[in-house]
Amino acid sequence: MAQSAETIHGSKSKSGAAWWVEPYLTVLALGLFGVYSLWLVFFQHTGQFQNYLSPFFSPTEDWGIKVLPALWVLWAPLLFRATCYYYRKEIYRGFFHDPMACGVPESRRKFYFGETRFPFIWTNLHRWFWYIALVVLVFLWIDAVKAFIFPVAGGGSTFGVGLGSLIMLVNVSLLTMYSLSCHAFRHLVGGGSQKFSCADGSPTTRYKLWNTVSRWNEKHGLFAWVSMFSVWFTDVYIRLLIYGVIHPVRFF
């Protein structure tokens, strides 16, 4: 680094770390997640262990389309996250150094078109990927419910709670909060309207919805990270079960 941390804006983050720590951590986390996803796509063919299903492989229905099982699912959440306003900030800072941190000079490229041209103009389609992500979310909720219904020897099934059931429930809850705190959703439910009061002065329904989503939206970045790690962790847990490295824990 040419400049010392002290002479650069954003030199000290809240934690007191140097300005370049955050962009490099972003690259590391997203990079590892990307590599892990690719490994799943090309080298893993199932995410099922008994009644647990990895979020990377849900839904399992292929509707006659023959593709790699993880790829069938993965493109949707991937495009959803890649066009997310929060991840865009992190990606532009971490991967494109546009800018790496506030006030840090950008010297590498002459041209900058922002989100006005291909490829980043596509980020304007974020709301469409949000709709698709919602469909995926419905499947994940069904999977989470199934994770509480265990097969019994000799046929039939019973309600039960295992470590995997809890992990899957937490994961789908975090994904739900990530989706419902989305900026496009905030706009959709009420942000786009100009008036928030009815003729009699009472708040409109759209106002109430917008207000609630706005509160969640303040934590959108947090939900983005924790839900990414929970998806990752859920798959790792189920994969370790599939490989027999660990044994399933059943509470009752």
Partner: protein, 242 residues
């Protein structure tokens, strides 16, 4: 003996210049503007610095202190212990003299924004709830620190393509007004260049008024642009709704 602080202040004009060191006695509660006034009074009477209120309200004293875009009157000297305080003019605007920059470009752009066009004649009564959102933007003191730090203007010199975060929240303030009838969406997508903003949020970080420029202003405007230009289905639904 009173504690001594060292400031390294940019001296120069449009043709160039360099930082010059000054040593002054520290006074408890001193802000950087006080320190510069001390230098003016005792060591360099020709030091140029623009200020008015010394209360973080007029937006005149914007500068860069140790690389951060800040108000000189709101930044305490004791935030920088055991280090030299480097004071430089805003990087994005042409220097007139020392710490004073020419920010007239911003006023030109402000004039190009279509004014408030109310649906009914004033005076009118509004519900607080309807104006809460735009009141956040009205806190702006036009210090232009956000314009200074925005990498589109700062590093890419794209002043001809993007009007910057201050203009975005001015347009948000008008566009979200419950009685406004003007349409600024084409302008936003066109010559105001909202697409150049890549929502990396430095404007929000530096705003001394704590305005959520990106989350509450620019992103909602980007969504409005998307309504019109990137969402034929949504447009159709809205038409039927009307």
């Amino acid at each position: 003996m009173a504690e001594e602080i060292t400031l390294s202040v940019f001296r120069g004009d449009r043709s160039g210049g360099r930082e010059q060191e000054y040593k002054i006695p520290a006074v408890p509660g001193m802000v950087v503007l006080d320190a510069l006034h001390y230098i003016q009074a005792h060591q360099a009477p020709d030091l140029a610095v623009r200020w008015n209120c010394k209360a973080a309200h007029c937006g005149s004293c914007s500068a860069e202190i140790n690389g951060s875009a800040k108000l000189l009157c709101k930044t305490r000297v004791d935030d920088y212990t055991d280090e030299v305080i480097h004071v430089r003019p805003m990087h994005t605007f042409p220097v007139i003299k020392d710490l004073v920059t020419d920010v007239s470009w911003n006023y030109e752009k402000l004039r190009q924004i279509p004014a408030f066009q109310p649906a009914i004649k004033a005076p009118f009564t509004l519900h607080q709830r309807d104006v809460d959102r735009i009141q956040e933007f009205r806190k702006c003191i036009e210090c232009f620190l956000c314009q200074n730090i925005c990498h589109v203007l700062r590093d890419h010199s794209a002043k001809d393509a993007y009007w910057g975060p201050r203009m975005m929240i001015r347009m948000a303030e008008l566009q979200m007004h419950p009685l406004d009838t003007a349409d600024r969406i084409d302008l936003l997508k066109g010559s105001a260049g909202i697409g150049y903003c890549n929502i990396t949020k430095c404007c929000t970080v530096v705003c001394p008024q704590g305005i959520n420029i990106t989350d509450n202003g620019i992103i909602p405007l980007k969504e409005r642009v998307a309504d019109k230009y990137f969402d034929p289905l949504g447009g159709l639904v809205r038409k039927m709704h009307k």
